[in-house]
């Protein structure tokens, strides 16, 4: 199973290079990989309820984190959807993209691998790593057109919202693991989902906080109200990205996590209440806002938000019927939504616009796209006999079994669905079937790779709808059982017989369809009004709060920076030193100042050196020209090197001398560019600087003195010295520590050196180019 995740990740790094050699053919090759994964998974079907394959490989044994992967029904359906739709999207992208194809294919494969990682991981920490990887990959994908400010802002927004959710998820996972360890699970199994389910961790007091944090993570990823706003804004991405991330994958990751952990959390009342409430709200709000849009991709985005709400709500309800409905709805939605996104992309590709008001009459020019669109839209609207219909029927029946709460939920669902049906028809019918518009003048059918995806997915919905039995027996029951944590048999049917519940459900569903159709017919007149209402509501929406918060933090940071970092070296130094002194005085005082020891055994050479050093420093302070100041500072530096040498630290001494020499060179190079050497006549300024300097010096000296008093266990240095020769084959202990015992620290340090070098390089470069620009203007 590991190879399923690894091959896309490896391929992701190779594809951009391959694309430079092969051009568009790469898309076909790239699509083979996820296509193969999907095929192999399908060949493993049918799966029985409760059946699972698992592999495990130790990773961080000390923390009990293993690369544990497990495929049960729920994982299998996600693997098939992610890789199957992924393959179609890669193909589609091959024709859709005009430039930058290699980068897009690479990022899509990276994302695909990360998604597969999420749905296959059995270890919560491994899952989290892949979870973050999808956030990073989606950041790069949403901001794909990185030369546009809007795309960058959307990418940042998506990253911040899902990233914050990711942090909550991590905290939740840690708490859950602690709870599990304290309830008696072993280190290895405390973070394994399959081990947690069925353990008695749910009685632990940390269980509830952990659950709430995990819920926040999942809900933010799945764009639930009030964190839904990042999804529609993410539509600035190229269409293949939207089609992939926002139909079957990224946003479904949250739903997946909820479904995966439902057997663990499902007994909690809070779980049900939060999921049902958030889900229902999201379902309604998403559908209402969708009706106010005219951009095809934004309509689809908001209807996706609505569907994600429905799925969350269904998991929250948690009865057998609700879980069945969630399974069907999830699968159907992935198919038709990806198809519709791709169709929107094809239309834009041909006409140059996505505005449904400017589109019309494309059916003659694009017959196959139109057919796919019609099928997908009917599935979305829930028209019999498509897959979507079964989903909606089940949805209604699930709620009919719920008594009082059910009535409210059904009302919400009916309202939401009326809007969804109208918008589905608007997206699929207006561009194709009403009178021709200006934009469709030069329309022609798109090329084959852009036809395959929508058509296959639209037909898949129809196929499962007509023969639900196949889905049932191969996968459906296994998925439902994974979510429910108990055996649930699907037995899907198009016709549910004459029982009162079935008839009521059918009735409601037909009424909803009718109302939706009526709304669609009137939509043209009402669009303006709905748009205005949505616009007013948006002013008070969470997106505005996010914006305020974001700009607020930036302004705050700017003010602090301006106050503390004035750009004048003198002022900056003052700030740094004052902070240093104030922050270190407290711990120094708390540990108690050391008793000054009598420096009895001071040698004459040492005291003379010390006096010369002091004299040099004092002379530097009093020097009237920069050159003499540099020279005097150089003297103190060299004398310090001599001191190092006297105290048998030759390595330090050599380094100190080299640094002194190079500092002088640097100063010489910049000498003529420095401002005039300022002599401060004002007494107050001089006194202030003197006090700050003396205080900093005193604190530093006390600290050094105090640290020399700390008697480390002698064994540490002795051990290092004694190990240096036999273990590291070196006599120079200092260097052995640097490059062997503490090599990781050194690696960090040289990385800092490298960054500093590049930083100076970049600063000087940008300064120069800015000046060059200023000169031209």
């Amino acid at each position: 199973m590991l190879w399923m995740i690894l091959t896309p990740l490896i391929a992701a790094s190779l594809v951009p290079w391959l694309c430079r050699k092969l051009g568009r053919t790469t898309a076909w090759l790239a699509a083979l990989l996820p296509g193969g994964i999907a095929m192999l998974t399908v060949l493993r079907l049918p799966m029985e309820p409760g059946e699972a394959w698992s592999v495990s490989q130790p990773w961080v044994p000390a923390l009990g984190i293993d690369l544990a992967f497990r495929m049960d029904g729920l994982s299998a359906v996600f693997v098939i959807l992610i890789s199957g739709i992924g393959a179609l999207i890669l193909l589609y992208a091959g024709s859709y993209m005009k430039t930058d194809l290699g980068r897009l294919l690479g990022l899509l494969l990276l994302f695909l691998g990360a998604m597969l990682g999420i749905v296959l991981s059995d270890d919560l920490f491994v899952l989290f790593i892949f979870w973050e990887l999808t956030s990073v990959a989606s950041f790069l994908l949403i901001g794909f057109k990185h030369d546009q400010e809007g795309a960058r802002a959307s990418a940042r927004q998506a990253l911040l919202v899902t990233g914050a959710g990711g942090l909550a998820l991590l905290a939740g996972i840690v708490l859950l693991t602690i709870a599990a360890l304290q309830s008696g699970l072993s280190v290895g199994s405390a973070s394994k989902i399959s081990e947690l389910i069925g353990s008695d961790v749910s009685t632990h007091s940390l269980f509830l906080p952990a659950m709430i944090l995990i819920m926040i993570g999942a809900l933010s990823k799945s764009a639930q109200v009030p964190l839904h706003f990042w999804l529609p804004d993410a539509m600035t991405a190229p269409t293949p990205v939207s089609a992939y991330l926002h139909s079957a994958t990224m946003v479904k990751a949250g739903v997946y996590l909820l479904a995966r952990l439902n057997p663990l959390f499902g007994h909690s009342a809070t779980w049900h209440a939060v999921l049902v409430a958030t889900g229902a709200m999201t379902m309604l709000i998403g559908a209402l806002i969708a009706a106010g849009q005219t951009d095809m991709k934004r309509i689809l985005a908001y209807t996706t938000v609505s569907v994600l709400g429905t799925l969350t709500m269904l998991i929250g309800i948690g009865t057998d019927l609700a879980i069945k409905a969630a399974v069907v709805y999830l699968t159907a939605h992935a198919c038709y939504k990806a198809a519709l996104f791709m169709i929107a992309g094809s239309i834009e590709y041909v006409t140059g616009t996505r505005d449904i008001e400017k589109l019309g009459g494309l059916s003659r020019a694009m017959p196959i796209t139109a057919l796919s669109g019609a099928l997908a839209a009917l599935s979305m609207a829930g028209a019999p006999p498509l897959f979507g219909f079964i989903g909606k029927e089940l949805l209604l029946k699930a709620k009919l079994n719920l008594d009082t709460l059910g009535v409210a939920l059904i009302c919400a669902a009916v309202v939401a669905n009326i809007f969804l049906i109208a918008m589905a028809l608007a997206v699929a019918a207006w561009p194709f079937f009403r009178e021709r518009k200006q934009s469709s003048r030069n329309a022609r059918e798109v090329r084959l790779p852009m036809l395959i995806g929508p058509f296959v997915l639209a037909v898949a919905g129809l196929f499962v709808g007509v023969i639900p039995d196949v889905f049932d027996r191969t996968l459906g029951s296994a998925i439902a059982s994974s979510i429910g944590g108990r055996t649930i048999l699907m037995d899907l049917e198009l016709w549910h017989g004459f029982s009162p519940v079935a008839l009521t459900a059918l009735g409601i569903s037909l009424v909803t369809l009718g109302c939706g159709f009526a709304l669609f017919l009137k939509l043209r007149h009402w669009l303006g009004a709905i748009k205005r209402i949505v616009g007013v509501a948006a002013v008070y929406g969470p997106a505005r709060i996010y914006e305020k918060l974001y700009t607020g933090i930036l302004t705050c940071a700017a003010v602090i920076t301006r106050k503390t970092q004035t750009g004048k070296l003198r002022q900056d130094l003052r700030v740094i030193l004052v902070f240093f002194v104030t922050l270190s005085v407290y711990p120094l005082v708390r540990t108690g100042l050391p008793e000054p020891e009598v420096l009895g055994d001071l040698l004459i050479t040492e005291s003379v050196l010390g006096l010369v050093l002091l004299a040099g420093a004092l002379a530097a302070v009093h020097s009237r020209s920069r050159l003499s100041a540099i020279a005097l500072l150089g003297i103190t530096g060299v004398l310090i090197a001599v001191l190092f040498g006297l105290f048998s630290a030759p390595d330090l001494a050599i380094t100190q001398i080299m640094v002194e020499a190079l500092t002088v060179v640097l100063l010489v190079l910049t000498f003529y560019r420095l401002p005039k050497f300022a002599a401060f006549r004002e007494r107050s300024v001089r006194w202030l600087d003197a006090i700050i300097a003396l205080a900093a010096g005193a604190v530093m000296a006390t600290m050094l003195y105090q640290s020399s008093l700390v008697r480390l266990p002698a064994s540490v240095s002795e051990k290092m010295a004694s190990l240096a020769r036999p273990e590291a084959h070196g006599r120079n202990v200092v260097n052995v520590i640097l490059v062997d015992f503490r090599a990781l620290d050194t690696l960090g340090e040289i990385t800092v050196v490298a960054m500093a070098g590049l930083g100076v390089f970049a600063l000087i470069r940008t300064g120069r180019s800015a000046r060059a620009k200023g000169g031209e203007a």
């Binding site: 030759p650 390595d651 120079n732 690696l747 050196v753 490298a754 300064g767």
Partner: protein, 136 residues
Amino acid sequence: MNAIVFQTTVRFVTPVLLLFSIFMLLRGHNEPGGGFIGGLLAATAFVLYGLAFSMDRVKSLLRVSPPTLIGIGLLLAVISGCVALIAGQPFMYGLWLAWELPLGLKAGTVLLFDVGVFLVVLGAVLLFIISLSEES
């Protein structure tokens, strides 16, 4: 700065300093020295050369740009750490060749790491100084 005496001296001093820096790098394991000091010394050698002639000539002398030096250095350091991973030891565990190089040198991942440090320090210092000199 085109004093003939300085230029003539530098012509001789630079190669000696460079040799000396490599000497310091190699002996670092047993006597004072090592990648850090070696890198600083080598940088000083190049900087002296640059002061005597011009930084452009230093660039052509180097053949590779300082950022490339930094990159290669970091890469060597990381690779030296990964060798141990392949051998099934923890990251950065020092491994040694069984035989000795001429001059009684022991070769191993630690030496490779030190060479990485050398290159990073050399590249970073040269990057500072070359960018600053181009500025003025």
